[in-house]
């Protein structure tokens, strides 16, 4: 009986030590930030936006050799970055569930945009001379016609670095926020410059002008 208790105690201690080691070797980051509204002129289109579950719940997990298991939650930050961005970029935005959109939204929307976080990479240095935590992110933006036809698929990347401090998690969070701001800057300043988007915007403007003309004629 005593022997069984001893074995049980040893197993318990080993499990506790294992858990302790695991906790000691894991780093968890929840990226939380308010992102500013961009200072840009809105494009004259009404857009639907698909924020799917993967974007809302995005978690990056990675084991860094000789370091620890990192878990980085970016879901809330994704929405906090993209919502004010799209609100400022377009005349009107509304969240839609799927593409093609329903009959009501077909008449009310000029297009639908679907952002996806495709890649997230980061580096936390070990050496004394490496002073920056670095983060690199790549988003994919797909612009659809309301009927589901793809107008353009565009990838946007952002790089961020942050001084390495004692709290490595905070450094990673700051670098991720810098990278996300870079992504937001690229989307807001370069989206309309993409050739396909520029052509699509021109078509929308021509359609609007024609609609106004026909209303005047009637």
């Amino acid at each position: 009986m005593r022997n069984r208790n001893l074995k049980s105690s040893i197993r318990g201690l080993a499990a506790a030590a294992g858990c302790g080691l695991l906790v000691g070797c894991s780093s968890s980051v929840v990226v939380l930030s308010d992102f500013p509204t961009p200072l840009i002129e809105p494009l004259p289109v009404r857009m639907g936006v698909i924020y799917d579950a993967e974007l809302y719940d995005f978690v990056h997990a990675e084991q860094i050799p000789q370091q620890s298991i990192w878990t980085i939650q970016l879901g809330d930050a994704n929405i906090a970055m993209l919502e004010p961005l799209f609100d400022a970029m377009f005349l009107e935005t509304r969240e839609v569930e799927d593409i093609p959109v329903g009959p009501v939204d077909i008449a009310r929307l000029d297009g639908v945009i679907h952002p996806v976080l495709q890649r997230f990479e980061f580096d936390v240095p070990i050496g004394q001379r490496d002073e920056f935590v670095e983060v690199w992110m790549q988003y994919g933006l797909t612009l659809y016609e309301p009927d589901g036809q793809i107008v353009v698929e565009w990838t946007v990347s952002g790089y961020g670095k942050s001084e390495l401090e004692r709290n490595r998690e905070q450094s990673v969070e700051r670098a991720a926020i810098v990278a996300m701001r870079e992504v937001g800057a690229a989307i807001s300043t370069q989206f309309a410059e993409q050739a396909e988007v520029a052509y699509w915007l021109e078509e929308r403007q021509n359609e609007s002008a024609l609609a106004v003309d026909s209303r005047i004629a009637n």
Partner: protein, 245 residues
């Protein structure tokens, strides 16, 4: 208007002296002669623009380099020091300015020269937003503080009778920064200040380690701030500044 430079040698900051450690102090004193901070300041003011009443400055770090970036605490040090005192200059928060001007002052989008600044101000709403901040002068900080060399070593041991260390460690830090001042009203480069501060720290250990730490970054902050105050308040950039109060 003319650029000038100054080279000075200063003593390092010394922590409180533990009593009864004369041998260590003697060794430290000997070593002090070989350590300290040397500085080189090269201010060059190109215009006679000065800051007016109600006008503000903002201090921003250049962030487009992959290898280095002015440290956030260095930016804070300059901002705080400029704002301090009876004749302190009105300094706008860097973070707030970057947020208000988003996305135009991010690492990839920030203007690299005054021509790009002019193009940026031509964009709809940007000039109005800048004016709403009250900022007239942008101060760009470029550079960093790096450890350029280190050496020596200290060995510590502990036993029943006590513990102690023996040896000597030293390191040298180099704080090199450029502060470039842009005048938003005139769309011109008001001038540049180059600061190079180098400091060697030593830590002799005879039973206990005694650090004699040189702080070139703190000295660079003080030196740059003094020069920036003159830049912003004196037409020539090197005389007595005007009283902003």
């Amino acid at each position: 208007m003319n650029p000038h430079w100054q080279l000075i040698q200063e003593s390092p900051t010394r922590p409180r002296r533990p009593a009864g450690l004369l041998p260590a102090l003697a060794a430290g004193s000997m070593l002090l002669s070989g350590c300290g901070v040397t500085s080189l300041m090269e201010p060059y003011k190109q215009t006679d623009a000065v800051i007016g009443s109600g006008e503000q400055v903002v201090v921003l770090a250049r962030k487009h380099h992959a290898s280095h970036e002015a440290e956030s605490d260095f930016v804070d040090c300059i901002s705080d020091a400029l704002a301090r005192g009876d004749n302190g200059i009105e300094v706008h928060s860097s973070t707030q300015f970057e947020d208000m001007m988003y996305p135009w002052f991010e690492p990839s989008t920030a203007p690299l020269d005054t021509t790009e600044l002019g193009e940026l101000l031509d964009r709809p709403g940007v000039l109005d937003q800048v004016e709403s901040t009250g900022v007239r002068f942008l101060i760009w900080l470029d550079g960093s503080t790096d450890r350029v060399s280190s050496g020596g070593g200290i060995t510590c041991a502990a036993g029943v009778g006590g513990a102690g260390c023996m040896g000597l460690a030293w390191w040298e830090d180099d704080a090199t920064y450029d502060a470039t001042v842009w005048d938003i009203h005139e769309l011109s480069n008001t001038g540049t200040i180059h600061a190079d501060f180098s400091g060697r720290s030593v830590m002799p250990a005879i039973i206990i380690p005694l650090p004699f730490i040189a702080r070139p970054q703190a000295k660079a902050c003080r030196g740059l701030t003094e020069q920036l105050e003159q830049f912003l308040t004196s037409p020539s950039g090197d005389g007595e500044g005007i009283n902003l109060g």
